[in-house]
Amino acid sequence: MKLMKLARGPVALVALATAVGTLTACSGIGSSSGGGGGGSGGSVTLSYLVDNSDAAVKSANAMATAFHAANPTITISVQTRPQGSDGDNAVKTKLSTGDMADVFAYNNGSLLQALKPATNLVPVSDQPWASDLDKVFVSSTTVDGKLYGAPGGTAFGGGVLYNIPIFKRLNLQVPQTWSDFLKDAQTIKAAGIDPIIQTYAASSTWTSQLFVLGDYHNVEAQVPNFAAQYTAGKMKYANTPAALAGFQHIDQARPYFNKDYRSADLNTGLADVANGKGAMYPQLGASAQGISTIAPGKSNDVGFFALPGDDAATNGMTVWSPGGVYIPKSTKGAKLDAAKKFLAYYASSAGCDTETQAEPPEGPYMVKSCALPSTVSQVAKDTQTYFKDSKATVALEFESPIKGPNLEQICIEVGTGQASASKGASLYDDDVKKEAQQLGLPGWS
């Protein structure tokens, strides 16, 4: 009797532990098999992980609904993860523990390489739609010769959002060279308007990088093999004048920043450029989507031009590929087939139309059979012109796996006058070194 009584404690503990274990296991399985009807009767539920931004969730839900309407046996349940670096960690952790959703949306380029696609993702090079994709997307989403995802959304540029009415009123042309850009800034300043908007609030620090990242078209125009040399550790920002220019531009633009540039955030910046409080805002074209809600009715007052370099003849835009939609290796059997169908939908014109309805595009689609509707925003039209004229270069982060994590803080140091341009560039070279070593690239030990 006594023995039994004693035994109850530890046994109960073990039982409890098992129960907890089963519970967590259940929720684990539940999250990947969705409504629990997986397999039976031919119907499949796929979980689909996207980041928690409004645009991503809205577009994912629209795609899920439209896809289910076209394929009634497959249900997509959308799940969310944080954005930014926390999201990167969530994706990496889920993949390494085999806990990833059946399908997930994520960046391509250098971030995709960090996921070790060969071990973690299902290649889709053999899918029929793979040949219908734009080279900007294909080159950004191919690792070691294999394509790993379908395009989720449109490409977009990195350049300068500008207020069209101000430019008209002051009789300004879109600047083709950096010196023209500064001259325009001078004219705008004389008219009592903030010439260049910067937004360094803690929530929007990433916006500081545009001067450097958006200048890559000009870097490549002058040093065509920069990406390869840079990845091999042979060229650095600090000792390559064309690359250093991005940091120098921040320093030269400083006198023209808006007064509250240290505390303004992305939304303030977008409102200012849309309402004409400021004239030029170096930004990603994709950010212009926010204007319709922040400054209703002003979407067509905002245009978009490339960050100019030294030479007007090579003027062109640095562009970003849309992220990909991927299938992890943990998705198998009927789910894998369903997941491939879902990716095919993303790469179809029906999929593009669904995306257009959910979120107005800010650049061209990466599926050749998709067309932009005629009612798109001015920013999308301006971006597409650069694509049409073949004046678009894909950003460095798609050409090289290394991007230092502290670029935004370093740009802010230069922008607030804490560091000189050359000091900023060499700080960034040190920052990049850690990333290259982490990836085990040759030439960086």
Binding site: P10, Q409, T416
Partner: protein, 308 residues
């Protein structure tokens, strides 16, 4: 578990005479009683600690790890952000700890006096300790906005042009430290109130009979006798200051630039960037740093106390 049960189950039998001395030596409980805590302690504390020391010497991407010896530590100490981060950490710890000691003591003296609504005022000073740090951080970020914030607008009414607080590189760290003091001073005050309350009133009466002034009472009776409270406040707030992260992250993300980065935020950013080995090495450094500062300080403060 089941195989050991029959034997361990015997142990807590009703104590018979001869077995008692042996048990007394082992402690009051049988071994199986320690088992659950021991298992939890091993799985959740010993194993991760040992493993983290291992990963500090590797280049680790969560999928694979590669032994690289001391390279992580070398990298960490070469990094400029770390050197400034180290310096900021010390400044932050000293400012917050110093202000909490001084303000905590003064507030405790005030709240021990015979003022109206003393109980209510005592709880008011403690409320910020209970509020979420992130909430406090976000609230003060809005209050400290250089253009629209309540603080600078109020200052401008009395003709003072307030600094940029969180957005000015020279002010950012100090601004966060001040908010940290506001949030944490309640705890220091409560410790001091307990310390002051434990000083016997006989001493004061005796000193007053001898003609001691109020300052003398404070200097020669209160201050020496609340020394244990002072030691506790210094140690607690110094450790808190050295490993502070949440408030800084909520308010500035270590910015503008790197001007309010402390070791903990440098480590966090490295973890975010996927440098898992490097950031684990950073945590080992932080552990060593806290030990190196706090252990001798603790020993020094307590030694003096016992010597008196």
């Amino acid at each position: 578990v089941t195989t050991t049960l029959p034997q361990t189950g015997q142990q807590p039998d009703i104590a018979e005479g001869p077995r008692r001395p042996a048990r007394a030596k082992r402690g009051p409980y049988p071994y199986w009683f320690y088992l659950p805590a021991g298992v939890i302690y091993t799985i959740f504390f010993i194993v991760p600690t040992v493993v983290s020391f291992y990963f500090a010497f590797t280049r680790w991407d969560l999928f694979t790890s590669q032994w690289i010896g001391l390279a992580n530590f070398k990298e960490f100490f070469q990094e400029q952000a770390l050197v400034t981060g180290l310096y900021h950490t010390l400044i932050y710890a000293v400012i917050t700890s110093g202000l909490k000691v001084v303000l905590g003591m003064l507030l405790a003296l005030l709240l021990m006096s015979k003022i109206i609504a003393r109980g209510y005022l005592r709880s008011v000073i403690f409320f910020p300790v209970l509020v979420s740090t992130i909430g406090v951080g976000l609230t003060f970020t809005i209050l400290m906005d250089p253009e629209q914030g309540l603080i600078n607008r109020s200052l401008s009414h009395i003709g003072v042009n307030g600094p940029g607080w969180l957005v000015d590189p020279t002010w950012a760290l100090i601004s966060v430290a001040l908010v940290d003091v506001w949030k944490g001073v309640g705890l220091a005050t409560v410790i001091y109130i307990a310390g002051i309350a434990s000083v016997p009133s006989d001493y004061y009466e005796a000193a007053r009979v001898d003609g001691a002034s109020a300052f003398h009472l404070f200097r020669h009776i209160t201050l020496p006798l609340i020394r244990p409270a002072t030691v506790t406040v210094i140690i607690l707030s110094l450790i808190g200051g050295l490993r502070s992260f949440d408030l800084i992250w909520a308010m500035t993300h270590g910015g503008p630039g790197f001007s309010s980065d402390v070791i903990a935020s440098v480590i966090y950013k490295e973890y975010q960037a996927g440098f898992f080995g490097l950031s684990t090495a950073g945590n080992v450094v932080l552990f060593v740093l806290v030990s190196v500062i706090v252990v001798p300080l603790f020993w020094f403060l307590n030694r003096n106390e016992t010597q008196r």
